[in-house]
């Protein structure tokens, strides 16, 4: 049974437009324009007097000239386009959709912003630790913007793995007779703390513990819900298999969730509108980028 503290966050993503003039000339001059709605959001304006700003009308949109000074602390990352058949799986998993109701649009995706530092309680055996560590190393190697490490001091940790025979580190799991996880997230939907409890009555040997630990940990990386349409061998399948494997689809779902090429922590409504918008832009033969603070790009940079 999962019990999660529910907090919603707002992360602002804005669309910038860069128009190229003098298309037939060898060197093109460019100017950036911002959609009027996004311009208002960024500069916290209730209204804009179009006579006082450089603006253009472009394919039904009103664009306001936006000319910020180049920020050395930011980098551009290409927007991570995905096929609708892939998003058909990603969206229910990341946004925990069970029914296509109006409320589902308010659902938000959760992610770890900082490194995950895992502490094992004393009753977690060496075999479980070793196997789990190789699982986390696989994730580290293959997923950008996600870094998992094992720590020996509890004070350094933000994630605890313990058994029902240990001190009950997570009070929210105290009454839980089953194994489970509990995570906390802030207003920006960034997960900052978590725990997994393994119930020894239920997972009574190392093999069962390892299998349970891997599945629950993966789930805790984004408060994911598992998909019953997937074959049982997938980690993201809502179906037990003793032989789970990180399939290409599993890996890509996780990679996409932690990709720098998408907006994170947003609602489904925002996610959908971004994709609709980005598809229109793409169909017009244009490129889309996401800006990130350099300090956020910790791995491979």
């Amino acid at each position: 049974m999962l019990t999660i503290k529910n907090k919603f966050a707002l992360v602002l993503c804005s669309v910038f437009v860069q128009l190229i003039f003098a298309q037939n000339q060898p060197r093109s001059a460019t100017a950036r324009y911002l959609k009027i709605q996004n311009y208002k959001t960024i500069f916290k304006l209730k209204s804009i007097n179009l006579d006082s700003v450089d603006h253009r009308f472009y394919k039904g949109d009103t664009l306001i000239k936006y000319d910020p000074k180049p920020d050395p602390n930011k980098v551009l990352v290409p927007f991570d386009f995905r096929d609708s058949s892939f998003l058909d799986y990603y969206v229910p998993i990341a946004f925990r959709l069970s029914h296509d109701t109006k409320d589902s649009l308010k659902q938000t995706m959760k992610y770890w912003r900082n490194d995950i530092k895992i502490y094992f309680s004393k009753n977690i055996t060496r075999g479980v630790k070793k196997e789990f560590e190789s699982f986390t190393q696989f994730i580290n190697r293959n997923v950008d913007s996600l870094n998992i490490e094992i720590v020996k001091k509890i004070e350094r940790s933000n994630f605890i793995v313990y058994t029902s025979d240990d001190y009950n580190y997570e009070s929210q799991l105290k009454e839980n007779r089953n194994s489970g996880y509990y995570i906390y997230w802030n207003r920006d939907n960034q997960i900052y703390k978590g725990a997994i409890k393994l119930n020894n009555d239920e997972v009574f040997n190392d093999q069962l513990k390892i299998a349970q630990l891997k599945v629950r940990f993966l789930q805790s990386l984004g408060h994911f819900t598992f998909d019953k349409r997937l074959d049982c061998k997938h980690y993201f399948s809502n179906c037990y298999s003793p032989n789970k494997e990180f399939t290409k689809l599993d890996l890509e779902l996780l990679q996409y969730h932690y990709s720098y090429g998408i907006c994170k922590g947003i609602s489904l409504e925002s996610f959908k509108s971004f994709h609709e918008e980005s598809n229109k832009i793409k169909d017009r033969g244009q490129k889309i980028f996401i800006t990130h603070l350099k300090s956020n790009l910790r791995k491979n940079n």
Partner: protein
């Protein structure tokens, strides 16, 4: 607001559409259909599974199978073990009783998708038969007559079957080793409960066939022919998705003509 500017979606409008987003299939892509998922590096993944029809030997088998699998509300969906059931019997179990249990477990048929075996190491097991003095009866603290308690399968037996989706991953079947006052009666109950846990089967009064699950027949002490067929039908294939009775009848059930 400190994180508000960490992410912006930026659109660069250019005339040059070449070399933009690689490997993107549009909706018009003729290769695309519902059987595939398009991944970033053009990988396609089949998401369809082909299931066979379960051909029952006769209509009665089919009807009794449905009663045994879907009869009660707590059995809305068909459930299965997705791996070999590896049973470990705790050392605290009386030798004679243990021998009987092992004998019974070894009478289970083996199919491609269903096997039961005994293991000598708890580390290898996913099914733990546990004699424990910490056993807590479901009747503890409740007001039931002694007759009802003694008649119940669960007066000194309890089990915890753990599943993910429609697949069982482990089971702990526990009892109090010092509270077995009638070994024969206990063993019979053990056999029924053990069989139940092989697929969340339902004991009921409406079965027409002799079975450990048939509540009307009190003289059965081992797996019957029907019980063996029931396992064969149940484990003809492993299902990925949750299947309710309507789906089963509509999509999977058929009879020998």
């Amino acid at each position: 607001m400190k994180n508000c500017f960490t992410i912006f979606l930026i659109c660069l409008f250019t005339n040059n559409s070449s070399g933009q987003i690689r490997n993107f299939y549009s909706e018009k892509n003729p290769e695309k259909n519902n059987s595939y998922v398009v991944l970033k590096n053009d990988t396609i993944f089949s998401k369809t599974a082909n299931y066979k029809k379960v051909i029952f030997d006769n209509e009665q088998d089919g009807n009794d199978y449905l009663k045994a699998v879907f009869h009660y509300k707590n059995a809305k969906y068909l459930k299965q073990w997705k791996s070999e059931v590896r049973v470990y019997l705790s050392k605290k179990i009386d030798k004679k009783l243990r021998k009987e249990m092992v004998h019974f477990i070894k009478t289970f048929p083996r199919f491609k998708n269903f096997k039961v075996s005994i293991v000598n190491n708890l580390e290898m097991a996913n099914y733990y038969v546990k004699g424990t003095i910490g056993f807590k009866s479901i009747f503890e603290g409740k007001n039931y007559s002694e007759e009802i308690i003694q008649k119940s399968l669960y007066n000194n037996l309890n089990y915890r079957l753990k599943s993910d989706g429609n697949g069982y991953k482990s089971c702990v079947l526990s009892f109090h080793p010092d509270k077995i006052y009638d070994e024969e009666s206990f063993l019979k109950k053990f056999k029924i409960v053990f069989f139940i846990t092989m697929g969340n089967f339902q004991q009921n009064y409406w079965l027409k066939t002799n079975s450990l699950l048939n509540r009307k027949v009190d003289t059965i002490h081992d797996l019957t022919k029907f019980d063996q067929r029931l396992l064969r039908y149940h484990y003809l294939q492993l299902y990925n998705e949750s299947i309710d009775v309507q789906t089963f009848i509509k999509e999977y059930a058929d009879y020998k003509k």
